[in-house]
Amino acid sequence: MPVEIIKDNWPGGVRTVTIGATAADGGTRQRTVTVGGEKTLPFLSFESPMPHRPVVAMEIKDQRPEDWSPLLLEAWGDVVDDPVDWAKAAEAAGADLIQLSLSPADLEGNPNTPARAVAIVKAVLAATGLPLLVFGPGQADLDNELLVPIAEATKGERLVLGICEDKNYRTIVAAAMANGHLVNARSPMDVNLAKQLNILINDMAMPLDRIIMDPTTGALGYGIEYGYSAMERLRLAALQGDAMTQLPMLVTPGYEAWKTKEAKVGRDVPPEWGNWADRAIHWETLTAVTLLEAGADILVLRHPESVRRVKAAIEELVIGNS
């Protein structure tokens, strides 16, 4: 019996965005990463091939993250004491990109300073050839204070600077524009808020191909369905031709999943939760794979085993294109 395959024919598509710059383009990266360019919903290769496969960024910190799950500290070992070693280990673990997250204070409790942050970013850039995302501690004032000098000190590298929110986008966007960087525009799981932030950033004359959109997500069990649907709706809007949603999406399943009790804690939990280490990695990978299929272009993860698994899943999903 004949079956008519229904192909959606979308008027719009996602822009491509390139992260990192090689020497030829004024940076020092050994390679760059290009994401976006989709003209269909995720991985529907029978409609149109996916021009750039989604990528995995590995999150590292500027110092030993005392509040991370012991499982993560154990998996990484001593490298967590030195961001340079950690960056190399992340590259060796198969990361496509590195996300360096800055802490609000050093291990003695002194507030982080621009001088320290700049030195660490430069050292990490020297240690790895991968493109870099640099995220502030997530407090608008401190983010501005640290990210502006970092942007200046790394001019031309096409870093992604985050977190750029409605509260502080002006300062970060200005610094990114003046120094040839990109921004990660984060909004709280809402199509209209995401769109509005992109408009505000674009109004400052930031080209759209230097904005990554971060719609925020929740972990499995803790609101993933809100993030999932916000992403599906944003991607549908992009395909329907809404220019201010046509940006690649970044999400942080690593951060969200490892915040949950299920991943973080091994003691005093119900026995039905099963083996801790296995559960924790499933928590991170299942959060990631679910968001991948909702349209994520960049997944920021924390555990090396999760990176391996999620990259294998991406490989299998794009095979249809080859």
Binding site: I5, R233, E272, N275, T285, G320
Partner: protein
């Protein structure tokens, strides 16, 4: 797909007799198309037209119900491609597969922990839905023994897997109940399989290597009077499953294409690697599977998959919530501490489970925050000093709680000043940010 008013009109007697209460058949047809009236109002409509109208009104994806010992698993009746448009309705059933090349004792040992598995998430008890028995040996007797062993430990619906009708027949005989699922009818064996499905009142998976072949086969089987069908389009990898499931769901919903208007079954367990199996199963949850058959059971993977299924099948308009009010944990006395939180289920259970686990008695005021988390509710103005004070009075907290001290979540420390103003004779204390730290906080600080 629903018929238009004009299409319906063509099926009516077109006599404009007004017996239905409408001036013309066309007016009545328009009302029918808008689903505002029932066809039964027209006493003159022919049997042929009735059947056609009923067919067009049937849901685009047929509902399939498997059952055993009072347990039911349903699949089908979905109406959307995207969960934000309308809630996905029937959660895909999880089935664990065993093979008949093991002794009955080994099968029972393998199944017992999975059959007994229960895990609680936001107050709901979650478990596997059933078991799939596969004929590996091809020997009907071995298969019957395996089915019997499975039945003995698992009072849940079964899927029987073999290409050989003779093997399936012995399994069905042993399985007994009506709500079993047979896997699978294919272009070579479909007539015998359809006959078995009919004889035993079983549902039947139809398997083929292309959608064309699959559609042709379901029509032939339907013509034999077997309509409780499930589709196995054959893919076993992430890309193939995504593409085929999307195509089948689109054809059913957008074209009302009846030959593929059935639930889908998928086999993540066919991948050898349990880690990969888990990712495939997670894809199947969001991407339209009706039945998911896995080969490995471990609580560490069953729990996240069952939670993901709850999340994806949540009503997108209405957060899962608990009743606001004053809750008692561990039999509190009037002088025991009082905590406040919101009525979003995830929030409430995070807090309640920690307090309960600590063994310390406490009162928990669950404020009506319209089902939002602490920070979301605060940002939306649903969990501020005024609202908390309102609920403290509304639920007559002081009738039971003597000590006027209220612990607020660490994430909303900013409201403590205003709360002290709203509740002048109360002491307001800021608790930890995360519920995990509550037991330690309660032991040390309260």
């Amino acid at each position: 797909m629903a018929l238009s008013g004009i299409q319906i009109y063509k099926l009516l007697p077109q006599t404009n007799c007004k017996d239905c209460g409408y001036p013309t058949c066309l007016a009545f047809a328009m009302k029918l198309a808008a689903k505002q009236v029932e066809l039964s109002l027209c006493p003159h409509v022919s049997e042929v037209s009735k059947a056609q109208l009923a067919e067009s009104a049937a849901p685009p994806i047929r509902l399939i119900t498997l059952s055993a010992d009072g347990h039911q698993v349903k699949a089908g009746h979905e109406t959307t491609l995207f969960r934000h448009e309308k809630t996905f309705v029937n959660k895909p059933g999880f089935f664990l597969r065993v093979s008949d090349d093991h002794t009955p004792a080994a099968i029972q040992a393998q199944l017992a922990p999975a059959a007994a598995y229960r895990v609680t998430y936001v107050g709901r008890e979650l478990s596997l839905d059933g078991f799939a028995v596969e004929s590996f040996t091809g020997d009907p007797a071995a298969f019957a023994a395996a089915v019997q062993a499975t039945r003995a430990v698992a009072e849940r619906p079964l899927i029987l897997i073999s290409r050989q009708p003779a093997v399936i027949a012995t399994g069905l005989l042993v399985a007994g109940d009506k709500g079993t699922l047979i896997h699978a009818a294919n272009p070579g064996n479909w007539e015998a399989m359809a006959a078995l499905a009919k004889q035993y009142g079983a549902a039947l998976v139809v398997q083929a290597s292309t959608l064309e072949e699959l559609a042709g086969l379901t029509e032939k089987i339907k013509a034999k009077g077997v309509e409780d069908l499930v589709l196995d389009p054959g893919a076993r990898d992430l890309e193939g499953v995504l593409v085929l499931h999307t195509q089948v769901r689109r054809l059913a919903l957008k074209k009302n294409f009846r030959p593929l208007g059935y639930p889908l079954i998928t086999f993540p367990g066919d991948t050898a690697d349990p880690a990969h199996e888990a990712m495939q199963a997670s894809q199947a949850i969001a991407k339209y599977a009706g039945f998911i058959v896995v080969n490995h059971f471990e609580p560490a993977v069953a729990y996240p998959l069952l939670v993901l299924r709850e999340n994806i099948y949540t009503d997108p308009q209405k957060p899962i919530q608990v009743q606001p009010g004053l809750y008692e944990i561990n039999n509190p006395k009037p002088d025991d501490p009082l905590l406040v939180t919101t009525n979003f289920s995830i929030t409430y259970f995070s807090v309640a489970n920690e307090v309960e686990g600590s063994g310390l008695p406490a009162w928990l005021l669950v404020a009506d925050a319209e089902g939002m988390s602490v920070l979301t509710a605060w940002a939306a103005g649903k969990f501020d000093a005024e609202k908390i004070a309102r609920d403290l009075k509304r639920f007559n907290v002081t009738d039971k709680v003597r000590r006027k001290r209220l612990i607020v979540p660490g994430h909303v420390a900013v409201i403590s000043g205003e709360l002290e103003e709203e509740l002048p004779d109360w002491e307001v204390r800021v608790g930890p940010r995360e519920a995990v730290d509550l037991p330690a906080f309660m032991k040390q600080a309260l």
